[in-house]
Symmetry: C2
Subunit: 191 residues, 2 copies
């Protein structure tokens, strides 16, 4: 049960973003920019960073939601399964493997990021902006995971929820839903 | 040395906020809202939450900066010294002690927050919004600390820097500096 009263039909982050809408606005904006804005990393690659950090923080809601979003963007679920157990075995580029290693380090602590792991990413072709964005996205999901679990938010009653949420994250991103998205809106007002 | 090229005269978070200004904007807005916006927690109390989380994450830049800001707001440095070693001994209210305990839990993990620690805060008079904001501020500083240390940002050359920065955080908050603040602007374009 959540530590504060949140709307029962809004699990995970969704109830929190409704609870304090003024703080939700910049959180949503930052997420939309980093995960859906212009980038040389694909949307799927950025969802993989969100997934691996949430998985490391053992945040069930965020891990399941971003796994579903990445799976939908990739059209398969082998990659999200692989990165959770052995990044080296995942069917992603060497650059992406190196960035996922950095994300896992950030999840543990900023101080865990090593010069060696940064160099590996650079050697595999990662740009400075890609390294920057990987660290910032990983840091942002350390915020999300703590917010969601620190408030003891509910999980959805059915795992179907995550498929609908993933559809919305792929279609609409992290913005507040515009008018006319009632088929997605039923699950929550914000992802 | 930072993992990516950042302006040499901008230590800690300040160089990062300049490096990618579009992501800096919502980060700054969220921080201004949570640490300086309307709240039943004082600005000093909110800086104490930032301080204890940054200290727990061993982020030297953030710990020193927010310690200096809290000290300036409080007019003394006993409180920031006390919360780092023994929250119970700090000259703050029972409510604030309970909220600082929650912040320390969030720093470790969202899952570390206990029903008991939440109940202690409520018993000491903490409102739902105060509990919410404590968890979100603590989560935000987990983002900051990872961003600052994950990118291996520089420390300032002189500790005088932190006094000037604290003056700015007290006077101007977390917004971008307006025109005419050249005496503060010299240290950095953003806190």
């Amino acid at each position: 049960m959540p530590h504060i009263p949140l709307e029962e039909h809004l699990p995970g982050i969704t109830g929190l973003l409704e609870y304090r809408q003024d703080s939700a606005q910049p959180i949503r904006k930052l997420t939309q920019l980093l995960l859906r804005g212009p980038s040389t990393l694909t949307e799927a690659e950025r969802e993989l960073i969100a997934t691996i950090v949430s998985y490391g923080n053992e945040c069930t809601f965020c891990t399941t939601a971003h796994t579903a979003a990445a799976d939908k963007l990739l059209g398969e679920s082998n990659t999200t399964r692989a990165i959770k157990t052995d990044i080296g075995s995942a069917p992603v580029s060497e650059k992406m493997k190196a960035l996922l290693v950095i994300a896992r380090h950030v999840q543990q602590s900023g101080k865990s990021v090593t010069t060696q792991s940064i160099q590996q990413a650079k050697d595999a072709g990662a740009t400075d902006v890609e390294i920057h964005d990987t660290v910032l996205i990983a840091s942002l999901f350390c915020l999300y995971n703590r917010y969601v679990d620190g408030m003891a938010t509910r999980l959805p009653e059915s795992t179907d929820y995550y498929n609908t949420l993933a559809e919305r994250l792929v279609t609409n991103g992290y913005r507040r839903l515009p008018q006319g998205y009632s088929h997605l809106k039923k699950i929550s007002p914000t992802p």
